[in-house]
Symmetry: C2
Subunit: 248 residues, 2 copies
């Protein structure tokens, strides 16, 4: 939503600056399960966006908030471990099992091994709560589709009979964490995104107001076929400051 | 049903001999997914039972019958490979994906690896049919419960949107294979077993007649709480020849 293929959306850097100038508190929210806030912030900062690490919300940072202080068996990519601060990451006797997303490295096979999945099953059977960062089925890589963590979340739900709580977008936990971080009431907060179901639909269920941007994931036919309707639609985030001034 | 903890059920060897003498054609049916017919036959033969390999029906032998001649990506334990004759076991461009049960060896982790599961997912996405030997959640070992193949079957169903066909008991394919092997009509064939749901219930759905034995898995309270009712109940297989003489 801020940048595409290594280039900032035209006018986006200035738009973020104007939003701050108008007094808006901002959280940049992403469903990435492979990078920490520090890593995720590098690219937009290199492109000129003034973004602090604690303004970035990742699925890992939501897990850290929801599971703070708990003993957690985390089957997650190493990249997000920095965001899981405050959790006791352990191998047995867990209070919660947390499944993260897959990535393209060999770590995925190491983490989603039979041994680790069996361990997660035993903890669930012994009473641990069950969380996941998302339950995506697969994602597209240069070499073709790759199996994502949804397969393992679903498989562990089947064997344990316990449903996993999703912590990423569009879960209530996710939007709740962002609102708490900026101390905002949902009806006075705007979710701005390019994903009609995940961003707009999810935030609306949480009572937030929404703006859809026509960049990135946006597809006109998705909008036509959907019952989800944002409060506003803008060409890109560059138009957002003007739109908010006229519609607030 | 024939033996328990290395000892034959008293009278069982003689009962099998009497059934043969009375002209019954017999198939010994098992849901094992870790041993071939040749391996499975060793123990009962050592205990005195006269059993030929081709009288033993395993889940692998049913897969061999159902998938004969097809190109199959098989994630199964090495022990059953002997029974999968007639299948073209391949790593890509498969017509069918076959998931077998786990065992206690390290082979389980090697076979249910992320790489292999991703491969199975890609074949399913490309149009392969989906089969499994069973969809058990877990089984009990000396070291505690262990995750079984049901986790991976269920996970791949979730990501692919394709439901797996179960080939083991109590599937129609399983009982159908046994009946075809002895060229028997279901209503003239008797399923004898200790598992009320899997043996008796499954065979009844297939139109067969049934006898429950009070050995092995049999639990009186299961019979009381169930809507499944066998045609006959005997203390053990030793009583079966007399029971059949009186009730045929």
């Amino acid at each position: 939503m801020l940048h595409v293929s290594g280039e900032p959306i035209p006018g986006a850097v200035d738009a973020v600056r104007r939003l701050r100038g108008a007094g808006h508190r901002i959280r940049f929210v992403t469903n990435s399960t492979t990078m920490s806030r520090a890593q995720l912030g590098e690219r937009p900062r290199a492109l000129g966006f003034a973004i602090e690490d604690d303004e970035l919300q990742t699925t890992g940072s939501v897990a850290s908030r929801v599971l703070k202080g708990k003993r957690v068996l985390a089957l997650t990519m190493p990249g997000i471990l920095d965001d899981l601060d405050g959790l006791q990451l352990i191998g047995m006797n867990a209070e919660a099992v947390l499944i993260g997303g897959a990535d393209e490295t060999e770590e995925t096979g190491r983490i989603f091994s039979y041994l680790n999945l069996n361990r997660a099953f035993l903890e669930l059977q012994a009473g641990a709560d069950f969380y996941c960062l998302h339950r995506n089925r697969w994602w597209q890589t240069a070499e073709g589709p790759r199996l994502d963590a949804g397969a393992f979340v679903s498989g562990l739900e089947y064997v344990s009979g316990i449903e996993a709580t999703v912590l990423g977008k569009p879960s209530p936990e996710y939007f709740g964490a962002a609102l708490e971080a900026i101390d905002a009431d949902p009806e006075l907060a705007w979710m701005v995104g390019d994903d009609l179901e995940g961003d707009v639909g999810g935030a609306q269920k949480h009572g937030m107001r929404t703006v859809l941007v026509r960049t990135g994931k946006f597809r006109p036919d998705e909008l036509e076929g959907s019952t989800v309707m944002p409060d506003g639609i803008v060409s890109s985030i560059a138009q957002l400051p003007d739109w908010l001034e006229q519609n607030l």
